[in-house]
């Protein structure tokens, strides 16, 4: 027996409501985050992730309210990302009832913030979210570049090197999102997962491209310890989480 592959629904939250973009654009409202979170908890989700996509900082308080309401009723781990810049942001999220925080742009801008957060709260509290995109031509050694702004801006940083550096600095997990695969519903970018798996010894959460349950086992075979998706769960059948778990179990991996 070993640790189960985690299946994680992701809820994009804007001003207190769940949204999900196709390729991060054309956002579509899919309901109340806490209600949806409870539904996923009952349906067998192993963890939940809230991604705060609220543009204005004035509306961020609504997210803290959502986190706090979720923590009252949900007894599986909750990760919150979006707008995490420094130690105090993580502190605030934990106080409102989040278990982990995910960080993206702020860590690219100032990598030492990873050391600061993980020294204070431990590695397990911090997830590095990497939006990786295949490069046109030799921009980075691995052929995958770190992007920001939902994949619209390149950074010139090598995605694999960045994952490795962040792991060395103490981050507890990598949330690996393929910008190319995201929204396509054609499956995960397996090469990206394999490259990061070969580079780091911390858990990898694969994200981007899942369209049906059969897409998940190959991501696990490529080295993912957890799989994260949104649309498959939001707009799929009520049995979507169970279906994904069955596909993973049928492929010979353990699930809860």
């Amino acid at each position: 027996m070993s640790v189960a592959i985690r299946v994680i629904p992701c809820l994009d939250v804007d001003a207190g409501r769940v949204v999900k973009g196709v390729k991060f654009q054309n956002l579509r409202d899919a309901g109340d985050p806490v209600e949806l979170a409870q539904r996923y908890d009952r349906a067998g989700a192993d963890e939940l992730t809230f991604l705060d996509v609220t543009a204005s900082s004035g509306n961020r308080e609504t997210t803290f309210d959502v986190v706090s309401r979720a923590a009252e009723q949900i007894f599986i781990p909750l990760t919150v990302g979006g707008g995490v810049r420094e130690v105090s942001d993580v502190d605030k999220l934990l106080r409102y009832g989040a278990d982990k925080a995910s960080i993206n742009t702020a860590a690219i801008a100032r990598p030492a913030v990873i050391d600061e957060i993980t020294r204070r709260f431990g590695s397990q509290v911090l997830v590095l979210s990497v939006d990786a995109r295949r490069t046109q031509g030799a921009v980075t050694p691995s052929g995958f570049e770190v992007t920001t702004h939902g994949g619209r801006k390149g950074t010139g940083m090598d995605a694999i090197e960045w994952a490795k550096e962040a792991a060395d600095r103490g981050v507890g997990e990598i949330l690996l999102n393929s910008i190319d695969a995201d929204g396509t519903k054609e499956g995960f970018d397996l090469e990206l997962i394999r490259l990061v798996r070969a580079a780091v010894h911390i858990p990898i959460i694969a994200s981007g491209g899942a369209g049906k349950p059969e897409h998940f086992p190959p991501a696990v075979a490529a080295g993912a310890n957890a799989v994260l998706a949104a649309s498959v769960f939001h707009f799929g059948p009520d049995s979507a989480i169970a279906d994904v778990k069955k596909a993973i179990r049928d492929a010979g991996y353990e699930v809860r």
Binding site: R6, A71, R95, F121, S123, P203
Partner: protein, 225 residues
Amino acid sequence: MSSEDIETAPTKPTVTVLDYGSGNVRSAVRALERAGATVTLSAKAEDVLNADGLVVPGVGAFGSVMAELKSVDALRMIGRRVAGGRAVLGICVGMQVLFDAGVEHGIQEQGMGEWPGTVELLPADVVPHMGWNTVKAPEGTMLFEGIEDERFYFVHSYGVQSWDFEVLQPKMRPPLVTWSEHGAPFIAAIENGPLCATQFHPEKSGDAGARLLRNWVQSLSKKAR
């Protein structure tokens, strides 16, 4: 507790969750309330010593958790509770610090020494050990009653991987040890009279964790009556 409180049975057991600025304790408070306890989040001596049960949460580095516990005088208070047969439940690093020592990044830190053993890095390909894993609970377990085959939520990189408990007092019941595995077998829980601990997070382990907390809270009310 006033005499009135004792007379109005059945009273809910009181539990204090030790508040020393460690991570998300809100979930622990809510989960214990759901398990049937009246919960206080506090580090005040009166709350820590008087509650029917004390929960010691803990995340982060072994050494910093020990330092934070010392800073609120928790080591002494935990010791006093255990000596008096009063229930204590350590969770995650709150369990690890009950052992002799912890080694992180090559530095050995002193633990509380309630149990023999050193908390060391898990020899697995992927650490932290993060997610839902199974456990092997021993015969006679109180904590895992009814949930022996369930999975619990772990998140840790270090663990106690050997158990050399010398039975010096044949009349004393030896601790019940529950194991899990990640890279190597490690201790997932201990039940030792008033002192219990879990390496996983029952407050984050869904229905199985809720049942474990209920088992523990119910054991408090049995003692209270």
